[in-house]
Amino acid sequence: MADTFQFEIVTPEKLVVRDVAEEMQIPGKDGYLGILPGHAPLITELGVGEISYRVHGYTHRLSVAWGFAEVLPDKITILAETAERAEEIDVERAHDAKRRAEERLKNGNSEIDVRRAQVALERADSRLKVASKGRS
């Protein structure tokens, strides 16, 4: 069996990565999924979190938010609303976003405001986490 699989991460704006990996972790909506080559065909929604994949002994990380993934034995395709490589994340902006979201959570009056703020907070947290780990 092949020891790697292909994958693509696509956002509404562009194709973010097309690469091969030996293993990959993706943030499914109902929990993280670990994927090795030859995985059974699977379709899942994504939550907010971190995609990490290993190839040639390096681990690469991306922060992703919401989307959809198709897993085939030799290929993974991920549609994500946002996807940023760890080294691309603007830490300062993420901090700002986090602060704003926390503020809104405190004074949010309508239900929608609160929900949006929660989502924004979750996302900012995920980005910060991924950025701090970087490439290892």
Binding site: P12, E13, L15, K29, F68, E70, T77, L79
Partner: protein
């Protein structure tokens, strides 16, 4: 007769203007190429999403097998009483008739909907300025207000987004789309349309009103009103595109589309982490976002193309003007010389 010095001064001034319009044309051409690339880069996602949704429609029994009724609010048709129209124009002028044409089409659409309540959301400064002068600014209607009093205006401007077009990104578009979807699901609006300049290539453009809600058929663009480019406009665009490296033909997207068509439609038994119906529910709103995103990306490309054409025409006009001024200048100079010779000759004749 015009003074020689004045004419020289005019020529110099027009030459300077020509240099500016020429530079603006080249800048627009470069921006147009970038905008086209962005629109192309956005294509795989849109295509993949469309494919997934199409394949989920049958798996998730989105339509009631007996009555054929849609089981998702964004697909459901209902009587149109409150209509939302999103008008996409440019933020800047000097783009020929680009903004005017869009606003004309907007007025035409509004006329065709007379008797109904229309709320307008303006994207782009030019459209905002025009619509604000014509229609009252109002808060988006909530459902409780239901029946409207007679004093209320039938058409109102409920939202504006200015200065977003040159830093367009998906999160921003999503925030607009999310609001539209929320209002639709809350029955505050009964349909939503986007009016924008569709852009396939410099010579394949049209002004369309696209229905984005309710979704009637996934993967089909529902055009409610369209205006093609005139032959004259097309010829001008071809002329302007010469020497700028802007391709006339639409970019070939077949290979992208074929690749995207494979997504999530392999002939295998997938394990569904979530039920297909649930997946469909959370993906369908994204489809609305992607459509608005596409509209904005194409509108930006079209705006640059329009500016490129306008500036090309301006450059040509300046050249014509310099030619006729040079001719006039030569004539004046010649007349002056002739006059001097006559003076000398007649002076000599008088002296002899």
């Amino acid at each position: 007769m015009a003074n020689l010095l004045d004419i020289r001064r005019r020529i110099r001034s027009v030459t300077n203007t020509r240099q500016i319009t020429k530079a603006m044309k080249m800048v627009s051409a470069a921006k147009l190429r970038r905008a086209q690339e962005r629109a192309l880069a956005a294509r795989p996602y849109a295509q993949m999403l469309t494919n997934v949704l199409k394949s989920l429609v049958s798996r998730a029994e989105i339509y009631d097998p007996d009555s054929g009724e849609a089981r998702h609010p964004l697909l459901a048709q209902r009587e149109q009483r409150n209509i939302l129209l999103i008008v996409v124009t440019g933020d800047k002028g000097l783009a020929g008739a680009f903004n005017t044409n869009i606003l004309k089409a907007a007025m035409k659409f509004l006329q065709s909907k007379s008797g109904k309540h229309v709320e307008i959301e303006a994207i782009g400064r030019k459209g905002r300025d025009f619509l604000r002068r014509r229609f009252p600014r109002a808060e988006p209607r909530s459902r409780q207000e239901g029946d409207h009093s007679a004093s209320e205006s039938m058409i109102s401007l409920v939202g504006e987004h200015v200065g977003v077009l040159n830093r367009l990104d998906y999160p921003l578009v999503w925030s607009i789309a999310e609001r539209v979807i929320e209002r639709y699901t809350a029955w505050e609006i009964d349909s939503a349309y986007v009016l924008f300049n569709e852009f396939k290539s410099v010579i394949a453009q049209r002004l369309i009103v696209e229905q984005i809600l309710p979704i009637e058929q996934i993967g089909e663009t529902l055009v409610r009103q369209a205006e093609e480019m005139s032959q004259e406009e097309r010829e001008r665009a071809v002329e302007a595109a010469k020497g700028t490296g802007v391709a006339l033909r639409p970019v070939d997207t077949r290979s992208i589309d074929v690749e995207a068509a494979k997504f999530a439609t392999a002939n295998v038994d997938y394990i569904y982490e979530q039920a297909p119906a649930e997946l469909f529910r959370s993906l369908l709103p994204k489809y609305v976002g992607v459509q608005i995103f596409r509209a904005l990306l194409e509108s930006v490309a079209a705006e640059h193309a329009a500016r490129m054409t306008a500036m090309d025409a301006a450059t040509n006009n300046a050249t014509d003007m310099i030619d006729s001024l040079t001719l006039a200048m030569n004539r004046v100079r010649q007349a002056k010389i002739t006059k001097e010779i006559i003076e000398i000759v007649s002076g000599a004749a008088a002296a002899s």
